[in-house]
């Protein structure tokens, strides 16, 4: 059949399997594709360490296939495009990640991800698998007001949790400690996104939302969910001046705090633009007396070729700084210190 969008795919029905086969073929040192469509580490971590698992809709690459590897996830269960995998597949993922010290099922807060993970845990209960915990993560300040944090969506800022939790789960941390660490990172993270131009759904070929040539959408979700509202397209500096204050106020981040900063490329932002944007972030944080410990700029959770970015901050203490600096070697996300 003719491709329905100007994308280089074979056919909508095989996007997931074609992608996973190509991905696994490209990175045999790092990942392996199982018969049941799981992405697992090429070298499983040592026994006696907590396994980290996540299931998610595909179409957001590198999330999450690119985040399986040393210092990151043990197993990813990729679902169809923008649809979380079902509970049976999550259960398989849990089993594959078990190294004898229990498994933490990580959930980026979206209805489908949560429901399927809940059902997978019910299946664990029925099968007598006990050392399994679930942690639900969220960071998007535009998706629910302060005071109702647990209703918020999981977006780009979860990258902080995956990176640092991944490092923590390489230590002798227990399952309960891992869960507490994930919550600690989550509770110190806040994110706000902006979209400039839409992406297209690779299955249906539909443009995911409409945006006039001179407008931006603040608070856009990772599937093109409408956010807080439209604003006029302004300069890079003015865009940061719109986005940073609500992020800072929400936690709040205060003078004297040390933070990690992440600019997530939603798809087709140029690095040029991201560096121009980061310049203003650095200026404003310095003015506010907030110190940047490390910066990460790049794609993590993309929305196909949507142009836009997320600004995410995580407040860190010495423990988190050490975890951030530990090596992480996923196929598409490699964090190593010089």
């Amino acid at each position: 059949m003719a491709p329905r969008t100007k994308k280089l795919i074979n056919q909508p029905a095989t996007i997931l399997s074609d992608m996973l086969e190509g991905f696994a073929a490209a990175y045999p040192d790092i990942v392996r594709l199982t018969d049941t469509g799981l992405i697992v580490r090429a070298q499983p971590k040592a026994t006696g360490k907590v396994g980290l698992v996540i299931g998610n809709g595909s179409g957001h690459e590198p999330a999450m296939i690119g985040l399986v590897g040393q210092g990151l996830f043990d197993v990813n269960i990729p679902g169809e495009i923008f649809a979380a995998p079902g509970p049976g597949r999550i259960l398989e993922g849990i089993k594959a990640a078990d190294r004898g010290a229990g498994v933490l099922v990580c959930v980026s807060h979206h209805a489908g991800d949560l429901m399927n993970a809940e059902m997978a845990l019910e299946l664990c209960g029925m099968e007598g698998i006990e050392a399994v915990e679930m942690v639900v993560l969220y960071d998007d300040i535009s998706s629910a007001p302060k005071g109702r944090e647990a209703e918020r969506r999981g977006t780009a800022g979860l990258f902080f949790t995956w990176k640092m939790l991944g490092a923590f789960a390489e230590t002798d941390a227990t399952l309960a400690q891992c869960k507490a660490m994930a919550e600690k990172i989550r509770d110190n993270t806040r994110t706000l996104s902006v979209a400039i131009t839409p992406g297209t759904n690779p299955v249906s070929g539909a443009v995911m939302f409409q945006l006039p040539d001179d407008e931006i959408e603040v608070g856009m979700g990772v599937h093109g969910e409408i956010g807080q509202g439209r604003q006029k397209l302004v300069s890079a500096d003015q865009t940061i001046d719109i986005m940073l204050p609500p992020v800072l106020e929400d936690l709040p981040f205060r003078a004297g705090d040390e933070v990690l900063v992440f600019l997530n490329n939603s798809g087709s932002m140029t690095q040029m633009e991201l560096f121009i944007l980061y310049r203003r972030v650095a200026q404003r944080l310095q003015e506010a007396g907030i110190q940047v410990y490390k910066t990460y700029i790049g794609p993590y959770a993309t929305t196909q070729e949507m142009a836009g970015f997320a600004l995410s901050l995580c407040r860190v203490d010495d423990e988190l700084k050490t975890l951030w600096d530990a090596p992480a070697i996923g196929a598409n996300v490699r964090i190593v210190q010089p």
């Binding site: 923008f82 649809a83 079902g86 597949r89 059902m119 409408i226």
Partner: protein, 209 residues
């Protein structure tokens, strides 16, 4: 008159056939409020379920296998919810060899309760619940009045269809449709329409047998 295992298999097959000829209609509905994939997704789910149940030999088996297949094949929220619908329905006929109309009403009641518990949506929230809930009520009423299965299914199908239509007047609090706010008004919810198609397919199966 009771509903046999074979009838339940026939109904799932009929649902699969009906949904498969309505894929683009359901996708179009979903594209107004969501991401436009509902028809593709649910059709793939029921097609797989119809295959899986070929050897199922009890009402419990047919319903549970259907539910598990929908869950794992569809994924996402709708897989979880349509899957839960059938898995919970199965749980209420665990030991039964055949299903009376009263039991049939009760099993959809159990399934619907499972959906509401899993997804948190209540009637009026512009979801599949808005078609399911009136259909269950219609089945209960028919059972109480001592109507035939065919009459009951006809009433349930009509009630589900009306329930789906009514979603056009609602704004959504759950699912992707919640993000379109007031713009949702005027559009029928895709999941509700699927439920209406399910009951209509079951009625047609029964009428035609």
């Amino acid at each position: 008159m009771t509903i046999t295992t074979q009838d339940l298999r026939g109904m799932i097959t009929a649902i699969s056939a009906t949904i498969s000829v309505n894929i683009s209609m359901l996708n179009t509905l979903d594209s107004q409020l969501g991401d436009g994939d509902h028809g593709t997704t649910i059709s793939a789910g029921f097609a797989a379920a119809a295959e899986q149940i070929a050897a199922a030999d009890s009402p419990f088996d047919v319903l549970r296998l259907t539910g598990m297949t929908l869950m794992n094949r569809m994924g996402g929220s709708s897989g979880a919810l349509f899957g839960t619908l059938f898995v919970q329905a199965a749980m209420s006929v665990k030991e039964a060899e055949t299903v009376s109309l009263k039991q049939f009403a009760a099993l959809w009641q159990a399934g619907g309760d499972g959906v509401m518990k899993r997804g948190k949506a209540a009637p009026g929230d512009k979801t599949m619940v808005d078609a399911l809930s009136p259909a269950v009520t219609a089945l209960h009423q028919a059972a109480e009045k001592g109507e035939t299965v065919e009459q009951a299914l006809q009433a349930a199908a009509a009630a589900a269809e009306q329930g789906a239509k009514n979603t056009a007047e609602m704004t959504a609090r759950y699912g992707r449709a919640q993000y379109v706010g007031e713009r949702a008004i005027g559009h029928v919810d895709a999941g509700a329409q699927s439920v209406a198609l399910m009951f209509s397919a079951m009625y047609n199966y029964w009428k035609g047998k």
